[in-house]
Amino acid sequence: MTAFWWTVAALLLVTLLAGLIRIWRGPNPADRMLAAQLFGTTGVAILLLLAQAMQTPALNDVALVPALLAVVAMVAFVRRARPEAEEPE
């Protein structure tokens, strides 16, 4: 049973890391933020799986936090990001 949770968690970790590619390649800031958003959701999923795999229900509380706060970074981005100046100073 635990082996399965671990396998799935590892798979999810792979997809998570694959998301890094999008962060790296962009091309524009919104794409990168989008990938970060993916990190949040996938992270929640991994945390839930780890809670099962490691027999630590307290991890559900940990999962609660990114679920709650992942959006804050996105909000900060859309509210405060400023399009980059076209020309260097």
């Binding site: 049973m1 399965f4 949770w5 799935v8 798979l11 999810l12 997809t15 998570l16 694959a18 998301g19 590619i21 999008r22 790296w24 390649r25 962009g26 091309p27 524009n28 919104a30 794409d31 933020m33 989008l34 990938a35 958003q37 993916l38 949040g40 959701t41 996938t42 929640v44 999923a45 839930l48 799986l49 099962q52 229900p57 559900n60 999962a63 609660l64 679920a67 709650l68 992942a70 959006v71 996105m74 909000v75 981005f77 859309v78 990001a81 399009p83």
Partner: protein, 105 residues
């Protein structure tokens, strides 16, 4: 029961993979938003469903659901916000005309 759990969790995982694939394959920001929002939320939902039988109490189960709902609400809002942002960035052309060309670093 346990197989149902496997099935659900496995399916959930699959949707995550699909979401990421979409994120990587789709050509522009808007379509990527589509992919990631819809696939991941479904993935998380299925995974949560799969985990539900393993919970020890009702509140614990409800907490899982709560987490999912929070993620749902957050993604729904975030998807709107980012789409809105992207549109505001390039109001004349929607969808953005340039986003298909990948910038190489």
């Amino acid at each position: 029961m346990i197989y149902l759990q496997y099935l659900l969790v496995g399916a959930g995982c699959l949707f995550f993979i699909v979401g990421t694939l979409g994120l990587l394959r789709f050509p522009d920001t808007f379509t990527r938003i589509h992919a990631i929002t819809k696939a991941d939320n479904l993935g998380l939902g299925l995974l949560m469903l799969g985990l539900l039988p393993s919970t020890e109490s009702l509140p614990q189960a409800l907490k899982l659901i709560l987490i999912w709902l929070l993620v749902l609400a957050a993604s729904a809002t975030a998807s709107y916000l980012i789409a809105h942002y992207v549109k505001a960035q390039s109001p004349d052309a929607l969808p953005h005309a340039d986003t298909t060309s990948e910038e190489q670093d």
